[in-house]
């Protein structure tokens, strides 16, 4: 049994490692799809901490994604030096801070906002919390849309461009890398970066789940009053959940900004938050493989459906636009999956029970 697991694990690892090389053969667009799928996995894993473990329904999660992205954008693009003479004087070569500074800054700011949002909402439960987080997401988006005056901080609806690509020890992710005659384009490099981050996040999530903190979160999720009675500091733990979830979002946001090279408030609409919640719930709330599956399915499905929708489109005589059909199929898939598998595609096996296989 144990050996079988290892074999499956190794096969999966090998598959994930060569996946972009294969996809590359079909064109870089396919690798991009995989990149975005990984980015969404990262987001879904972060939201899973808040929604899945601590049971706090957050409908404004994309705000943290946005905060991370804007933080990266501000610190690694010409935007600030163009608009503020003082900063231009301080950094004559332009503001291009190293990632070792920028990414922690993004994560930290997002975590700060996570706690900031968490603090006033501690007494709220269930759907009151949902609407407040939703409102928070909208507030952040509106500010990003309008903070181009009186002081131009976010450049408003036009968004920020020319954001630096990441670079690690002199290896720029923005350019094609030549490894022993083998060409790895930028998208593939980002794939590996995101994959590393995802693996890292899975490990963190997994460790959290079985830790004291994770068990406390689940106790809060199941019954807050009982958890409190057991001596759990619900206030601090809820704030921690918000902060942790937000950190994931912030890092994912920074990755998104560097990967795209351009950000605008449009990318951070309410629908994104709703999609991330859908990924978590559709996959199997609180269950890591399920959450990953949900994120991959919902983010890759629209792209794959592009190829299904085109023939359907010609069948209907071009009356139906491919993008409309796609949207239709996604909606139907969401409804159908939930009706057939109400607990998600791959739900956690031991729901509501204490964890059986904990090796302390």
């Amino acid at each position: 049994m144990k050996q079988k697991q290892i074999i499956v694990f190794l096969l999966a690892a090998a598959g994930l490692l060569i996946l972009p090389i294969i996809l590359q053969g079909f064109g870089n667009a396919w690798v991009r799809i995989a990149d975005f799928a990984l980015l969404y996995v990262l987001l879904a894993l972060g939201l899973n901490i808040v929604v899945g473990y601590a049971g706090l329904l957050d409908l404004g999660y994309v705000a943290f994604f946005a905060i991370g992205a804007y933080m990266y954008g501000l610190l690694a693009s010409p935007h600030l030096t163009e608009n503020f003479a003082a900063i231009a004087a301080m950094f004559p070569d332009g503001l291009h801070l190293p990632i070792w500074l920028v990414i922690p800054a993004s994560a930290g700011l997002a975590a700060f906002f996570g706690v900031l949002l968490g603090a006033p909402t501690l007494r709220l439960r269930g759907d009151y919390l949902a609407i407040v987080t939703l409102g928070f997401g909208e507030i952040i988006r509106v500010f990003m849309n309008n903070l181009d005056h009186p002081v131009n901080i976010t450049n408003g609806p036009k968004g920020m461009g020319e954001i630096d690509s990441l670079s690690f020890f002199g290896v720029s992710f923005g350019k094609t890398l030549d490894v022993g005659g083998f060409e790895l384009p930028s998208v593939t490099l980002y794939y590996y970066l995101f994959l590393v981050l995802v693996v890292f996040s899975v490990i963190i999530s997994h460790r959290l789940q079985y830790s004291r903190v994770g068990r406390a979160w689940m106790a809060i999720r199941e019954d807050e009053i009982a958890a409190k009675a057991m001596g759990i500091n619900t206030r601090n733990l809820k704030l921690l959940a918000f902060g942790m979830g937000a950190t994931f979002g912030g890092v994912a946001g920074a990755m998104f900004a560097s990967f795209q090279g351009f950000i605008s408030p449009e990318s951070f609409a309410l629908m994104e938050s709703i999609m991330i919640v859908s990924m978590v719930v559709l996959g199997g709330i609180g269950h890591l493989p399920g959450v990953i599956l949900g994120a991959v399915v919902l983010s890759a499905l629209p792209e794959v459906l592009r190829y299904v929708a085109a023939p359907l489109q010609s069948m209907t005589g071009g009356r139906l636009d491919a993008s409309i059909l796609r949207q239709l199929l996604i909606a139907l898939a969401m409804i159908a999956v939930m009706l057939l598998r109400p607990r998600g595609l791959w739900p956690s096996p031991e729901h509501g029970k204490s964890l059986p296989n904990v090796k302390a």
Binding site: Y128, A130, I131, R221, I225, I285, L328, A331
Partner: protein, 309 residues
């Protein structure tokens, strides 16, 4: 012209539309504890249906008076919306009644996307002008201007609310609804049929949403397949603001939200010396909401919050 009074009137009109939609949210929430994300889309379908009916009627009987056309289209839109919401509940929410709490939320989101897409296919994605069927003579009240459409909105809202209050408080169905909201299992033991009550709730909610949709269209003069999103979102906010599950709370929350928004939009510019413009009016509501909920976690009129977090 008195700006303050004018903003209050605008706010009342806006708020009464929010209130109608918020009632639908709050009734559904009170009974089955579900945020019906597709509610805004029901509003949109109601508005687009009435737009189609008005178009037909104007062609078929050119001489018909505007109010008659509006009334007929309103009735038909209500029926269509009710049938739609009834079907949605039956297909997407009923099978999930005993599932984890978030499962129906996802089908609701799916339904919302589905309805928007279908509406886009049926009615095409462009903005359509909603004809002005009532004479657009402005009336002057103490320095502020109010149009006939706005008067109609206030009147229709008051009437709908009166009927709803009567229905909930003085009829058998209303009693059954209140009983089911209180405790579905005990209500069932007392001979109430929960399925019937839930269906009735969705039908009533849909009718209110359709009325609000037509009012919205008449007030803003356009209809489109995405028009349900904003009123849906704001009305949901209003329902929570007033204390979700509480009918009076939805009305108070809706009207309060409308007035806050319109006052905010009217005064934020001059007060901050033009630094913050009326773009921020959309988040005004949310900021007030967060403040109110921090002080009163169960909303303005909310009593105890059921422990289902």
């Amino acid at each position: 012209m008195d700006i303050f009074l004018q903003q209050i009137i605008n706010g009342l009109v806006l708020g009464s539309m929010y209130a109608l939609v918020a009632l639908g949210y709050t009734m559904v929430y009170g009974i089955i504890g579900l945020i019906n994300f597709a509610h805004g889309e029901v509003l949109m379908v109601g508005a687009l249906t009435s737009w189609t009916i008005i178009g037909w009627m104007q062609e078929a009987m050119p001489g018909a008076p505007g109010w008659l056309i509006l009334l007929v289209s309103l009735v038909i839109a209500c029926v269509v919306a009710a049938a739609l919401n009834f079907t949605i509940e039956k297909l997407a929410y009923r099978p999930l009644r005993n599932s984890p709490r978030l499962a129906p939320l996802i089908t609701a989101i799916g339904m919302s996307i589905l309805l928007q897409t279908l509406a886009m296919i049926i009615w095409k994605p462009n903005y359509k002008p909603f004809p002005n069927l009532l004479p657009s003579v402005p009336y002057e009240v103490a320095g502020a201007v109010i149009t006939l459409t706005q008067i109609m909105i206030l009147g229709m809202t008051a009437m709908s609310l009166a009927i709803l209050m009567w229905l909930v408080n003085y009829t058998r169905l209303g009693r059954a609804m209140r009983a089911t909201a209180e405790n579905p299992r005990v209500a069932a033991l007392m001979g109430v049929k929960p399925d019937l009550v839930i269906s009735a709730t969705f039908i009533i909610g849909a009718m209110l949403a359709a009325i609000a949709g037509i009012m919205w269209a008449a007030n803003y003069g356009t209809v489109q397949h995405t028009m349900g999103f904003l009123p849906g979102l704001k009305a949901f906010t209003a329902a929570v603001f007033g204390g979700i599950g509480n009918l009076a709370g939805a009305v108070v929350g809706g009207i309060a939200l409308g007035i806050i928004e319109s006052l905010g939009a009217g005064y934020i510019g001059p007060l901050t010396g033009g630094v913050l413009g009326s773009h921020y009016s959309d988040i005004f509501a949310f900021i007030v909401l967060i403040i109110v909920l921090t002080l009163r976690p169960s909303g303005l009129l909310g009593e105890r919050v059921a422990d289902r977090a």
